[in-house]
Structure formats: C-alpha cells, structure tokens
Symmetry: C2
Subunit: 207 residues, 2 copies
C-alpha cells in the first residue's frame, strides 16, 4: 500500500479555504481533511471536530510534550496545532490528506523537510476579501482590528510564492474543480508513485 500524499492549503482569512476543502473531500474519493487542534474557546456556530478539535490548554501542552504536533503556534495566547499522529494514521491507509493551515504553519512543516504539495488560494480581489471580512466581523471587531486583518492578509499573499500552486476562489465550484484537478494530477505524478517499476507492475496487474 502506497502512503498518501500531503496537501497543504493556505489562504488569507476570509478566502473561504475551509469550505473549499470540505466540498473537495466530498467529491474526490480517498481524500481526507485533517482538522487542527486549538486551545482557544469555541466561537458561536463552531463545531468540535469540524471547525477545530477543541482541547484545553493543559491537554494541548501535554500533546506538545508528547511530540504529537507537526507544527503548532501561539496566536494571542491561544494554541493552534496540526496533529502528526492524525495525519500519519490517514496516510498509512493510502488516503491523501488535506491540511488547511496558515502560512506560518506551512513554513514550519516545510522546514521539517516533510514532502508536501502546497496550494495557495487567492480571493478574486482584495476588495472582495475586504467585503467578506467586513461582513464576517460584524459587530465583534473594530475598524482597527479589521485593518490589522487586511494587513495580515497582504503579508500572507506575499508568501504564496512558497507554494506549488495558486488557485483563485472566484466561484466555489470552479475553485473546487481546480483543486480536484491538482489532486488528480499529483496522483499521476511519477514521483508520487514510489518506484516506477512498482507503478508499472501495478498498472499491468489491472488487466
């Protein structure tokens, strides 16, 4: 059994990356989305195991100690991390794993020299992103906080050159199509096939 591929998807917040990958895993067989862990409190409307795996700060720190995270980060006192254990469990069954993480998390994984396929999702324009963030923030945020988010988004877009692919989320369906194509293509990559002779042997066994 071949080990699954690791896809890492990043995008400025408000680009709709999580929705995209949720749609994708419904459409493409043998794909799974691995959810991050966080110690921050659940927000209204968020579901445990879907938006994040919500754990206490004590439990999160225990998991850090046990080396369970591929990467983790402290954002304004809240911990966020990607479970290496979850990912390996999926990959060993031959399924390809999608991670939706921020550019810093992706950088940490790359620094560990773990082979990954990076996909960066762009909003159709900065104006669209601003509108989405403005709508989403509602009454929770001040204009200063929103400006801060937009500045962060600009910095994140600058990191897109570290990714293998860039796709634009102009419409969810079209964008899911593009990411689905990337998945199909990466599965057909010679380097994804282990040794060539193995790939060919497998192919020729099909008949």
């Amino acid at each position: 059994m071949k080990t699954g591929l690791l896809f890492v998807v990043s995008a400025p917040s408000g680009t709709g990356k999580t929705t995209l990958i949720e749609q994708l895993v419904k459409r493409v067989p043998d794909l799974v989305m691995s959810r991050s862990y966080t110690s921050r409190p659940r927000r209204p409307g968020e579901t445990d195991g879907a938006d994040y795996n919500f754990v206490s700060k004590a439990r999160f720190e225990q998991m850090i100690g046990a080396g369970e995270f591929l990467e983790w980060v402290n954002i304004f006192g809240h911990l966020y991390g990607t479970s290496a254990v979850d990912i390996e469990r999926h990959r060993l069954t031959g399924r390809d794993v999608f991670l939706v993480i921020d550019v810093k998390g992706a950088r940490q994984i790359r620094q560990r020299e773990i082979a990954l396929i990076g996909i960066f999702v762009l909003p159709p324009s900065f104006k669209v992103l601003e509108d989405r963030l403005r709508r989403r923030s509602g009454d929770y945020e001040t204009e200063v906080q929103l400006r801060g988010r937009l500045d962060t988004a600009r910095e994140e877009v600058a990191a897109s050159c570290d990714y293998d692919y860039i796709v634009v989320n102009d419409s969810i369906d079209t964008c899911v199509d593009r990411i689905s194509s990337i998945t199909v293509a990466e599965r057909a990559r010679v380097r994804a096939m282990g040794t060539i002779s193995e790939a060919i042997a497998e192919t020729f066994r099909r008949a």
Copy 2:
C-alpha cells in the same frame, strides 16, 4: 501575454495517444496539438495535416538545414520531426501546445533543456496492447514484425520514468479527464505563472 506551456505525450504505439490528445484539445480551451512532419508516404486512411504533415524527403532535408526542427529522427529511412517554428507560433499567442512524439524525440527535446511537461500513457496491460497492435497490423505485418513492435513497446515503457506523469488509457474518456486535470494543474503551478507578483497583480486586476 504569458508564453504557453509545452506538453510532450509519449506512449507505446497502439496505446491510442493521438486519439486522446485529439479529444483533449476539443475539450480544453487554449490548447493546440502540434503535428509532426514526416517524409514517409501517407498510409491508407491517413490525412495530411491531421496524422502528420507529409512532406517530400527533399523538403524535409531543407527544413533540417534551416534549423526548423526541435527534434527529428530517421526511422527505417523515413524522417520524422517536430517543428520548432509551429510550436513557438502557438505558444507566443498564449496557447499551450501538446506534442505527441516517441520517447527518443522527447529525449532530444529534454537534452536541449527546453522546459516541458512529460506525460507517459500506458495501456491497461501488455495483453491489451498486443491485441490492439495485432488488430491494427492486419495483413500488413508478419508475426516477426509484430514481435519487434512489442519489444519496442517494452523498451518505451522503461523510459516512462523520465516523464512527469503516468496515466493509464483504460477508457478514453477517463484518460482524457486525467490529462485534462494535469493541464489545469500545470496552469495553476506557481512556476508556470512567470513571476509571482505578476500572477497576483493579474488576479487582483480581475475584480
């Protein structure tokens, strides 16, 4: 205007590679298939400009002299070649070009360090390939000639490790889907986008 990508498709003879790419260019926008030139006589059922561009040996040699070929080869006294001029003309209009050529031709292009995306098409099994070749050869070929073709096919499959992608032609539609996905993915590749800032500027102009 961005220069088009160059895709090179090879497969053992009898794998149906030409049919696949003919279907593909009908389905995917801004793709064009560049036809090879040959000095060999047209066979019954072949069309000039579709199967090959048929030219006289004198004309072919003239084209070699003028440096018009990206690669050319002499097979049993017949000349076959890929026109660099045709390809550049297509690519400069921003269209991506598909070449269907044999492994030797692909190797020549690679040696010239021309950036290409290689796709190798495998038959579902060697048995299927043998049946197809047997059907196609009809009364024209002896068993010895057919054996020779099968030996060549085996050698060609061994060269598949030099390609970026391997796809199996188990059904034409499914295989065209796969190659179409590869095209979409390659167009989304960061390195296919020229400079990143250019790609992002282009994206953000869309709004």
